[in-house]
Every structure is written in C-alpha cells, then in structure tokens.
Symmetry: C3
Subunit: 128 residues, 3 copies
C-alpha cells in the first residue's frame, strides 16, 4: 500500500515529515511491520536525525555545504552539488512498526532534505 | 524471491541498471510492493540519481573523489577510499512498486557504483 | 517481528554485529525474505563493509573525521559532527535472506557505527 505526501520546500533545508508519515501508518490497514519513505526526486533526499533541537538539521546542512565542493561540474543545469548531496543522504529511509506505530528512537524525526528548492515535492510512503 | 544480476564495470564509474531491475520486477509473480537492490561487495555501492543527463553521475564521481581524502590509511590493499565511498552511497536502495512496475520519479535511475574495478560484479534483487 | 540487540560502544568506532543479527534471523519463524537492521539513535548509524581486515573500518572512521569539518555549529551539545556522520552512513541497512540465512557477500559484515560514545546502544532487527 503506497500513499503520497506533498512537501512544500524552502530554497534549501530539512523539513520534518514525521507526523505526516506517522498518520499514514496509523490509518493503514492490514499487516504493518515496516514503513518505507521514498523521495522520487534527484536533488532531494530523506534522512532520520534529531528533532529535539532544530539547530541539528541546520548544522547538518552547513556541514554538507562544506563537504560537497564547488568544482568544474559538467551538468548543464548547474545543480550538481544538489545531486551529490541527494545521493549522500539517500533516497529512502525505513522505520520498523510496532503495535501499529512508527518505532523511532526518542530523539529521531524523519526529514525531507531539499537541496534545490523552493519546490513542491512528493514523498511516497509504503507499509509492509 | 531473490534474483541475481551481473554487472561488468569499468575502473571506476556508475553503471545504470534500471532496465534490468525493472525487467525482474515485471517477471516476478505474487505480491509486489517494494523492490530492494543489494550489492554484495565492499568497494561498490548502489544509488538512485538522475539518468536524463549522463553528466550528473560523472559529476557525482568527481565530487566523491574530492570529498574522500588521500590519507595514511592502514588497509594493506590500498583501496580504503573505495570502501569509504561504498559506505557513503550505501549497499542497497529500495523502490516502491505500483501496478507491478517500479515507481521511480521521472528523472530517477538506479546506478551500480563501482569504486574499485574493473570487475565482474553481482547485484541481488529482492521483491517484497 | 522485531527483536532488539544491545551494543556497548567505545568513544567512537565501528562494532561488528553480524553474528548477533544472523542469530536472530536463524531463530526467526515464518516467512524470511529481508532483514532490516535499524539504529534508533541520532549520533550513531549502521553500515555494511569489509570484515576480513579490521583496518578497513578504522580507515573509514579516519576518513569520516577528515570529511566532516569542525565548523561554528549551533547545536548546544557540541556533537553536531556526530549527527552529520550518522546521516552520512544512515540509520538502517537491509540484507536479503536466502534459505533462512543472511545473504551477505563474502567480505561483508554489518557494523554499528558509534560517533558519540561510549554508550549502551540499541539496535532493532526486523524480519520481513
């Protein structure tokens, strides 16, 4: 069973989507053992990290912008660094489900990672 | 149900395997909700990124070669940078399946990432 | 079906958990097609890499410490670099299961990646 979310993103940044994903899990029928969150874009990704202090994801973006260098890239659209960041964080995360709810750690949240916005983005949520 | 693919790789580079994976999904019987693509090697990985402009994956390799430094590594085989790149892109990707076909985004392709070739490599495809 | 492992970690380092995960797979009942290993922490991760030469994971840690820069991070706890490394390696890995056993490559092992220890950590293992 696949459900689709829409995420409106800023220029660049991490948008938390934990509650929307949790709601899809809650409303899902039948067997529920694992939830996959998939991003069908190539200049965005998804990651799990701390959601208690909002500075953590800002620091992550700061670090990624230092890690991925400005080079003589060939891709004509000029957003190669966004493509690199997307593959570094990855296009999907999966979270175990226990008693019908996402079994995340205490400080974990699910973040849509925008590296080339602002855009209207999609996220696919699959329950297994 | 697991199927195995063979990929012949260049010295270093990203080899698209989307059509081979899609064909396995198409021929698979029974329930099909998610497709996992797994690389059973430690100096190669798999990622999802743009397949419209072939320059994108070349730019990604260029970036990774700048990001992963040449250091005084201890591993005797001399390919520690390949191992680091493998863990950075990851050993598997998973893609939702809808109506019996891979539900990738418009610009997404699945790439085998060779960091220590040329080699004859294997890929495991599991349908859930 | 989810099982929980406990991992006692050093200050920073990769702890192999392959045999514990394999044992959970072995004892599991019912259908077994894929094993997901999930880390419910935000300054630790999990990756698959070579377990023949223990220098490989030491080299990986050396590289990650060079790749993730010391910057003017805002997060008050002072461990932002650990959060960045966690998202770079990722919070889960998945391994195909064939004939009831983990179908890893010859040189592959599953590693808990501690970036902010020493700690008593948890790992969730889900069989699908």
């Amino acid at each position: 069973m696949l459900k689709e979310l829409t995420v409106n993103t800023p220029h660049e940044g991490f948008v938390e989507i934990t509650s929307q994903v949790a709601e899809i899990v809650r409303q899902s029928r039948g067997e529920k053992n694992l939830c996959q969150v998939f991003v069908p874009h190539t200049t965005a990704g998804v990651t799990i990290n701390e959601n208690a202090d909002p500075d953590v994801v800002k620091d992550m973006l700061l670090a990624l912008n230092h890690i991925v260098p400005k080079l003589a890239y060939q891709h004509g659209e000029g957003n190669s660094r966004a493509h690199v960041k997307a593959s570094m964080v990855g296009s999907s995360v999966s979270v175990p489900i226990i008693n019908g709810t996402l079994h995340l750690g205490t400080w974990q949240g699910i973040y849509f990672c925008e590296f080339d916005g602002p855009r209207k983005r999609k996220v696919y949520v699959t329950i297994l």
